[in-house]
Amino acid sequence: MELRKINDLTWEIPKAGPMRVPATIYASSRLLEGVKRDLTLQQAKNVACLPGIQRMSYVMPDAHQGYGFPIGGVAAFDLEEGIISPGGVGYDINCGVRLLRTDFAEKDVTAKRKELLAEIFKEVPAGVGKGGITKLSRGVLRDILTKGAEWAVENGFGTSDDLVMTEENGRMKDADPAHVSERALERGIPQLGTLGAGNHFLEIQKVAAIYDPATARVFGIEAEGQIMVMIHCGSRGLGHQVASDYIELMENTFGTKGLPDRELIHAPIRSPLGRQYYEAMCSAVNYAFANRQMIAHWVRDVFAKVLGTSNGMRQVYDVCHNVAKFEKHLIDGRVREVCLHRKGATRSFGPGRPEIPPVYRSSGQPVIIPGSMGTASYLLVGTEAAEDLSFSSTAHGAGRVMSRHEALRRFRGEQIRDELLQKGIELRSSSWKGVAEEASAAYKDVEEVVRVSHEVGIGKMVARLAPLGVMKG
């Protein structure tokens, strides 16, 4: 496969054969080496062949092989000729990250961090097979799928200020639970308000470095040592089932002939099935927003209980990194609405975009990039340049480099816990095996990923957040 170097951090697969557009990869030569070892580039090329794709098939710095689309893939499709694909969103619909800032400094928390973590572990259900606190009726669940985080706020979880500080204000308006299967509802009922397992986590962090003090202040960060809380989770079994259901429905309607990978199955955006998937996907997005809203509320409760107050625990932002949306972008010199797929990629709107909260309209939106377990996470800011470079998108995390199987062979959960403790990081988990699988050595270097985003200009560094307490599912 031809790979052309555009500059030190930008690579292109030129348009060839059935490709309708070229593919662009943002990576340092070190990250590129990793990407070349799996099917990421082939998958980016496959995406470039899909009907109605606009401008470019993009690959973010943290990319790795997915199914159908690569993880870290960004693609926009024309509304008339284009397609929508469950494989371009991923199984964990609206997997995303929420960040809270606090008025606490490290010294307020150091002695109490073990207790804080223990209490959070008690309040927030996590891990495999852990049910939520509420037994929901189907009627209530449908309400949640329609209203997202708004439902949670109406029911006493958090405040309306949180909604303003959430992508889409915590509610995708096109959601229609009528297109969510009974099976997906059944999976969603016991899991609302749960963190889940795998790479999902909740961290108590401190601000470890500030790179852009002016923007940091806009985001509510005043000084190093300030305590933050990060929540990373998604739509659980409900979202997974929506993806599985529509992959199958699309296969049965359109067939799989000619697809280089069955996970690339798609439907025309204008088809009834394409629309139904979109409305079901929006419902799953809303479930995930409600989920993070509830978890954030419980975390505030715990801080109030253990530290005496939760005043000042404001939400910096909540971002989705597995989603398809209708967005306006500048293509060939004119503004057009497209169906934008971000799979393992974060929206990175710069200043002026009407979709972002008013307080961020002159700075650009906060972009939250979680690191792997026990390493640093980063807060970035969206840029105007990202519009031209990546349809306003950047990385979503560290990205795996080692299989879970290999990680299990190399690491032991208890050993990782001890090593983190030596670094001053408390760890709680429901599974030591899960901890070993998520060992930070199994991930790309998040600092390198963030550096590439910063230097390419698709998301600029604002602050570095280091963990003090980690809760893993």
Partner: protein, 141 residues
């Protein structure tokens, strides 16, 4: 005895091959490979049974749907698979049908859970028939 299944290297997810002398045996082994990522099937008693029946347009689709049943039964009924019984794959006018029984038990404090399978994918899926049957599946975990 020939290996029932083996895990292959995959960056982000779990990929396995399951083997059998025929489709039914390979499907039964694929079920064990899937369940083994979440709990140890040998440590679950065969105390409860659920009938399972799936249809699909091709063998790949019934394989995906069959393995999804394991995740679905676990998430909605707290059911942990020990083994499958009486699996039968039949050709239908529109494709294939699989019927059989899941044996296992409901989750209790005695059972250790150590992983989550989110979904069964079509990525790199293979159903190879010949001398024996080899199935290949990537699970999103």
């Amino acid at each position: 005895m020939k290996k029932k299944f083996r895990y292959l290297n995959h960056t982000a997810d779990a990929k396995f091959q399951a083997f059998g002398r025929n489709l039914e045996e390979a499907f039964a082994n694929a079920a064990l490979a899937t369940a083994s990522l979440m709990w140890n099937p040998e440590k679950v008693g065969p105390n409860v049974s659920y009938p399972v029946a799936v249809e699909g347009r091709d063998l790949e689709q019934i394989l995906v749907r069959f393995l999804e049943e394991i995740v679905y039964f676990f998430e909605t009924k707290g059911f942990l698979l020990h083994s499958t019984e009486d699996l039968r794959v039949e050709k239908t006018p529109d494709g294939y049908r699989l019927r059989g029984v899941f044996r296992g038990d409901h989750h209790s404090a005695d059972h250790a859970l150590f992983g989550e399978v989110k979904a069964v994918t079509y990525n790199e899926i293979k159903v190879e028939t010949g001398e024996g049957v080899t199935l290949q599946v990537v699970l999103d975990i």
